[in-house]
Symmetry: C2
Subunit: 249 residues, 2 copies
């Protein structure tokens, strides 16, 4: 933990002290100032830096740990946690993991790739005012030789320039992005659509068959990162989640 890192913790004077500390550290993590794996200063260091008692600092850190943002171990200290790769039904998830979790062998095919200026539909997708450079991919994911899901993806090169050098022949774009980009906000939408003739052929279903369409857009600090449409054959897939009255179980 360098001096610059601990100096980044700044209180805003609003609300209870423990909550100021909690929010200060939370914001450093959420804004990527302290990326996953970063060592959080030990309690007594924060104590001195912030002029608070150890118990107050402790309270803030315990709460952050409960929220999953940090991991704490006695003696080793506190580090920024890695965001869980996949949550429940609708969070960011890895398609290879999803397929392997079902007990199938995973494979992928890059059907098409176009780099360059985004076309009009992509511009409106991200609600941009102008055309920008993107990578535009179509990928088919297979489970035991059966088409599993058809992915159409756009990656915003201004925020993820490294995407231009990656060919995505072994790692799908979703997984690659989890390792090579940061995101702070995402939006999902689920709907049901009929497969077009082209889609139906790729997914080995009939034209017009119902499909589950998952659309996801991701931003980092307000800048677009990626957008994806995942088309699942309706007959083969369902998303399941379990809940209790007060939230996820």
């Amino acid at each position: 933990m360098s001096a610059s890192q601990i100096d980044a913790v700044a209180l805003d004077g609003v609300g209870p002290l423990y909550d100021q500390i909690r929010r200060a550290i939370r914001d450093l993590i959420l804004n990527g100032v302290w990326p996953p794996g970063t060592a959080v200063p030990p309690e007594h260091a924060l104590m001195e830096r912030l002029g608070a008692s150890r118990m107050t600092v402790h309270r803030a850190l315990v709460q952050l740990a409960r929220e999953g943002l940090i991991t704490r171990r006695r003696r080793s200290g506190t580090i920024v946690a890695s965001p869980p790769a996949s949550h429940a039904m609708l969070d960011i998830l890895s398609i290879p993991e999803e397929v392997r979790g079902l007990g199938h062998a995973y494979a992928l095919t890059v059907l098409q790739r176009r780099d360059g200026r985004a076309q009009r539909p992509v511009v409106s997708l991200f609600e941009l005012g102008r055309a920008v450079d993107v990578v535009h991919l179509s990928v088919l994911h297979w489970a035991d030789g059966v088409p599993h899901v058809l992915e159409e993806r756009v990656i915003h090169l201004a925020t993820v320039p490294a995407a231009a050098q990656e060919d995505f022949s072994t790692i799908p774009p979703g997984d690659w992005l989890l390792q090579n980009s940061l995101w702070s906000q995402a939006e999902h939408a689920i709907s049901a659509v009929a497969a077009t003739a082209e889609q139906a052929e790729l997914l080995a279903i009939a034209e017009g068959d119902p499909c589950l369409l998952v659309e996801r857009r991701t931003w980092n600090q307000g800048e677009p990162v990626t957008a994806v449409r995942l088309l699942y054959p309706g007959g083969r897939h369902r998303f399941v989640g379990r809940f209790g009255p007060y939230g996820k179980v």
Copy 2:
């Protein structure tokens, strides 16, 4: 708070004291022993009852408040919170609220009702070994005179006997159940299906059109409460949610 209520708080000796207290009270709430609105004993009373310091009791209660299970107010005390009626995308939700939230007028039609022994498909739906008494309903929900969603529902009479006396002509079964039943666990599944001829006619779409099918099963303490299938015309509906890397935003 009667003596019997405070005596219900029992520690199990496992793990930290504050967490024993937290779990003891949480379980009383989740098991319906302390229904929503019940006064939780004040910190002093729990202190004496449990032989813990006030700060330790406080810590447990603050955490429960953060989890949304209780509501605390100075001087007034602590009461068991009402479970939120609807969460995000996939939690239990009220269809009238959903429709009105979109700015439409809500109406419902009970298409069919059958009370009595559950048919075989219902038995397997709940994974029961035998036929049981149920209410079986088909309800169509309207938004501004346009079919919004088709609901098929089964209510388990052994756990919700009052359902036999309710005609569901003004309040939809989902909303009625939120007020007249307890549930401790639910399972959702989302898939895409093609509308059958009958469904298509009711929803004013074409046969074979893609629909979003939401299936939900609900239990209380392991006993089935209700199961429902909600069929949304695919072209008209999408479920949207927003997330950050560490969870819902």
